[in-house]
Point group: C2
Chain length 355, copies 2
Amino acid sequence: MKHNFGAGPCILPKDVFAEASQAVLDFNGTGLSILEISHRSKEFEAVIAEAESLVRELLEVPAGYSILFLQGGASQQFAMVPFNLLPTYGRAAYLDTGTWSSKALKEAKNFGAIDVVASSSDRNYSYIPKSYAVPADAAYLHYTSNNTIFGTEIFDLPQADVPLVSDMSSDIFSRVVNVADHGLIYAGAQKNMGPAGVTLVVVKDELLGKTGRTIPSIFDYQQHAKADSMYNTPPVFSIYVSVLNLRWLKAKGGVSVMEQENIIKARQLYEEIDRNPFFRGTAEVEDRSRMNVTFVMTNPALEEEFLALAKERGMVGLKGHRSVGGFRASIYNALGISSINALTDLMREFEEAHN
Amino acid sequence: MKHNFGAGPCILPKDVFAEASQAVLDFNGTGLSILEISHRSKEFEAVIAEAESLVRELLEVPAGYSILFLQGGASQQFAMVPFNLLPTYGRAAYLDTGTWSSKALKEAKNFGAIDVVASSSDRNYSYIPKSYAVPADAAYLHYTSNNTIFGTEIFDLPQADVPLVSDMSSDIFSRVVNVADHGLIYAGAQKNMGPAGVTLVVVKDELLGKTGRTIPSIFDYQQHAKADSMYNTPPVFSIYVSVLNLRWLKAKGGVSVMEQENIIKARQLYEEIDRNPFFRGTAEVEDRSRMNVTFVMTNPALEEEFLALAKERGMVGLKGHRSVGGFRASIYNALGISSINALTDLMREFEEAHN
């Protein structure tokens, strides 16, 4: 058995893989593969309608918000957000908490003036800045809710009198979020929503159409909203597998139940990191991510050995990102407590063997 | 058995479905699903390298061209092409042969002046305009090589002294094309390349970086080329299934062998349409598409009956697009001659039953 600690595209439930595999052969008894059905067929229209309805239910999306399934990943949203929300000659505020927020604000500079209200780059993004002022004339404040690379997460909503825009790619569906506090939320699917190839956007309709800018149709949220995410051929399979995964999440009890499990999983791993003298966490304790647990060894010379042992036990994806080094255990929704046990057991065994 | 005549997403070979289904459970014996592997893993790097190499081999792409796997469909290329190739204050030429070329030129107008060199809209796009002048100062001439909706195809390369840009979404890999005659070719995958969710772009490098415009990274071909289509997380599964399909095409003997099969398939169907007094083709004979065969009944009142009979025999996707009416048989690479036989047999039986 494999324990997939990869940062993404990442583990999804085994049952989802089994159902997806079957649908590639025969989708819902149609005699056709999910890969060869028309996106205009009544079968696929039911899939995309269910995708929207599951997102609306699981995230408790209020009225007045559109739910879109787009392509291009979160990186495309780095451009589409300012394209659609930042007025010509306007300004927007960005909170810089890591590689992805840096990229987001860099792309936004193509569309207007950008205020970086705070940055944690001074200490290799190991913490979340807490106090900063957001200009009242900013079109929005953009923040990255979870920093996949650096293992930090924002648990207290940024305070601002302007609409909040959040890249939730790596923690959406992992904890309860109040959508109504946000103007726009986006997320690449490939962590807790589904496979790579589809991007979720939840946007407050009243914010759209106000930039004074002509937006090419394919980059215009209003066009996608009007067409119910079928402005052009959508990524059929990625949306279908997302539906399978969101059904699984709903059957588990939804986001709040998942959040409790994720708290327990993260606590067990961080407790071992803090207890075990061979290991050390890299993020500030209060800002530690529940999705991506970053840690190093107090003696870096032992890291290769530990990784090799982990591999022997079927653990994959544990190597840390080069920006942080050491290890990163991504412990998304579908990763069971047995995988956490396998890792903490190995950490204890390693300690005993080397003491 | 189903005969899938759908216009796209469309039929792919059964063996491709079988292999794709297996990879969703266990990719190449890794113990992991293709849906949960990292796009930075050596396993996926081999997949995307093979995708590029198969495209290069099958289309005989010369040196000096980049091969990109992007997201967003051909519709996103309607904007990305002028974003990247149409200089600020420049102009581009478009040949208008149907719904998709109309959409392409409409989006291009966001980026510069557009000359529509010719249009067949006067006769519901039932033919390909043959004589027109292309302004010498156009940055490029854009044409749609096959018009999926109207059932026409361009067999003689447009004559122009400017770079050719072609949307080949619905006939790429179905016939031999001289890439060197083009500055850029793009194609949504979901006909003859693979499932929906990935878009192929083949672009001559020397045309890039000359617009004088700042392009957001995600829309910049040069960024994608520099990153070997891994600027951000690619649509892993769609690329993988495209590789399976292109391997199948290569094993069949490649594009020229496929072209011969497609000529035979199309000829058999058009011959029956022309012979059978109950049916009538909608496109000019010399411009008839080998991929999308559009036809109506001489007595339209019988169309519902014919469609119902076809459905009884397992034929799906035959209903014509509302812009043309009647029927559209999409006969892409993976559709075997047995499906053509099933359709022409039914047409003959229908004739006999109604005579």
